[in-house]
Amino acid sequence: MKRLYWFQPDDWDIGGMERAYARMARRGWQLEKRGAFFSRFARKEPAEVCYRVELASPHGYFGEVKLPPEQVALYEECGWQYVTGRGLVHLFQAPAGSGEPELYDDPRQQAETLQGLRREARQQLIGVCVQIALYLLLVVLNWCRRSAHLYLMFVQAPTLLPLALVLMGGLLANAVHRVFLVGRQYRRLRRGMPLDRRPQWVWRTVRGGLWAAGAACAAFLLWQAASIRTLPPEPGQAGPCLVLEQLGVEGELTDLPVGGSESHLTATPLGGGRYWWQGQETRREGGWEASLFQDVYELGSPEAANELRTLLILSTTFERALEPVEIEGLDWAVYGDLEAVAVRGGRAASLTLIVPTENYDEQKAALRRALEALAAHWESLDAA
């Protein structure tokens, strides 16, 4: 027999569940079983079927709560066939228009059956709030001393923060809406009004918007990951990055001292014509080794590049050792013993250069020459 698994409606949307399963029955898919996220359907003849939800006793807590057999027997004697149930939600069906009495003719009586669902909704809201608070706490604890790295991560993956906010916001909005809707149904029934089975158009619009926003953010990240280019660190192929060969270091290209991966450059698009280049290169000759690590951001505007320079300074290891330096061809630069940060036009770069020297003065001089080489390289790129 053919079977189909499909996303199931939310437990708290009673009208939505009844309509969705009736719609599937009209298309020839009969509900067999409800799972945690999916419902299972079996292929049958299309039929006009009416579904009704019965909620189990409020004594259940997130577990399987069966309806008493005598209750099921009574409903079946009245023409309602038991289909399936999971958690507090149980479904009965009858042929549409067959005249079976509704499950409840006293809304106040039916209101009591919503107590379990109300409690579940409140507990879920508390759980979501705790979850989000923990996530935020972990982010703060993990990044509080490295906040510059966190902000740089959001520059390198521009839709990461919006995606995180959409996911957390969506979870919270869903939990709040569930509490609101079930509470409103309960108050309505207590006033003697029947259950509101109408489609929740406002919520569906909001949720659709959140899904669309999340999908757009995720799609961008996927596109970004698929667009990353990996290049060898050679002159003419390195984009705005420097390579050790341009600094007169001619040893053999070798694996990185940390991590052991091959020396390489990567180019990651940031959208809107902007790019993030990352270079990791180590060369060895005889007993000595030289390494160049760099992040170069092509941001398209001097304002954006100048805004980034503060973050690049904060992300260096020896931030306090950096001092300003005038380099022809660079709008702004600072350098220390091992690290430098530079800006020209819409480009900003952070460099770490380690050369085999006996003292810090030679190391610092080598770094200054690297900044001069970088200025000349960027000038030639701008002129091309």
Partner: protein, 102 residues
């Protein structure tokens, strides 16, 4: 302490259970007793049966795997009698309507 007035549905359930019945039979009996005026949905009936059982007004007479037969307890019989007496008093007091006095 004076008994709280019953709802119409509770009254007819107790009335129908003057002889033991199971759930669906109870629905039919209520329809007969009320002359078709009162029809009760299965969920409403089940909720009332659960409440009356909890309050000790009815008890489980016998049960098989799925069906339960209910019957009045002595407390339930007394409560039914008291409710009937209260309703009779209301009707008697309302006799002035026939006499034309307001």
């Amino acid at each position: 302490m004076e008994q709280q007035p019953m709802t119409e549905a509770m009254y007819y359930v107790l009335l129908a259970l003057l002889r033991p019945l199971h759930g669906y039979g109870l629905m039919q009996r209520i329809g007969q007793l009320s002359g078709g005026r009162l029809t009760m949905s299965p969920g409403t009936l089940y909720g009332i049966l659960t409440r009356l059982t909890r309050e000790g007004l009815i008890r489980l007479e016998e049960q098989d795997a799925r069906r339960k037969t209910y019957a009045l307890t002595e407390t339930g019989r007394q409560a039914l009698g008291a409710e009937y007496a209260r309703l009779c008093r209301l009707v008697e007091d309302g006799a002035i309507l026939k006499e034309g006095e307001i």
